[in-house]
């Protein structure tokens, strides 16, 4: 079946502009996660959704970052007034549920470059 998809695959933007990153999870997966991976670094957890709800937003790096999920499926991560330090690969993952301990399946990522 289809895996997790993300778009765009690459995004170059100017400092100060807003960007939207999209994630389509695996069909039937109720849990969705966003991570950030900077060059040579490990994955940094940003936020998770169970259904449309995001109970914990404390992982978001600043108030310029926001995320939403509609219809229990597609999610959008928005970065406002981008800064150069926002340059990274943004990865989305989905799993069957938040409860229990299910493996997460990752998309290919969106490489964001802020110039």
């Amino acid at each position: 079946g289809a895996g997790v998809s993300q778009s765009p695959s690459n995004k170059v933007t100017e400092k100060g502009k807003d960007v939207e990153l999209r994630c389509d999870p695996i069909s039937g997966h109720t849990a969705l996660y966003w991570y950030r991976q900077s060059l040579g670094q490990g994955l940094e957890f940003l936020i998770y959704f169970q259904g449309n709800s995001a109970p914990d937003k404390s992982g978001l790096p600043s108030d310029r970052f926001s995320a939403e999920r509609t219809g229990g499926s597609v999610s959008t991560l928005t970065i406002q007034r981008t800064q150069q330090e926002d340059s990274a690969v943004y990865l989305c993952a989905s799993s069957l549920s938040i409860t229990g301990s299910y493996e997460q399946y990752f998309g290919p990522g969106t490489r964001l470059t802020v110039t």
């Binding site: 997790v4 996660y33 991570y35 670094q41 490990g42 994955l43 957890f45 998770y48 169970q50 109970p55 914990d56 992982g59 990865l91 993952a93 938040i98 301990s101 493996e103 997460q104 399946y105 990752f106 998309g107 290919p108 990522g109």
Partner: protein, 108 residues
Amino acid sequence: EDQVTQSPEALRLQEGESSSLNCSYTVSGLRGLFWYRQDPGKGPEFLFTLYSAGEEKEKERLKATLTKKESFLHITAPKPEDSATYLCAVQAGYDMRFGAGTRLTVKP
């Protein structure tokens, strides 16, 4: 605070030379320990989940083991196509905390 430390940072092996990667963790209430493989420019690919000390899982040339403080990923007779970064992650709450990874290179 939950912590995950992987060692070594990088490992170079000759084809056929077996070795092990280490993942040490401190977490309250481990729900699962996960191993992933990541190729350059791609998202992590799921390999194994381990839930309790003493558990082992195998897949082709890879074998993962778990104790109360660490996990090992054993690679037996590796091939060049096993070259990748191997990531370990622990889940206690609802999020997953990743180590920085071990970059494995297998030379023919």
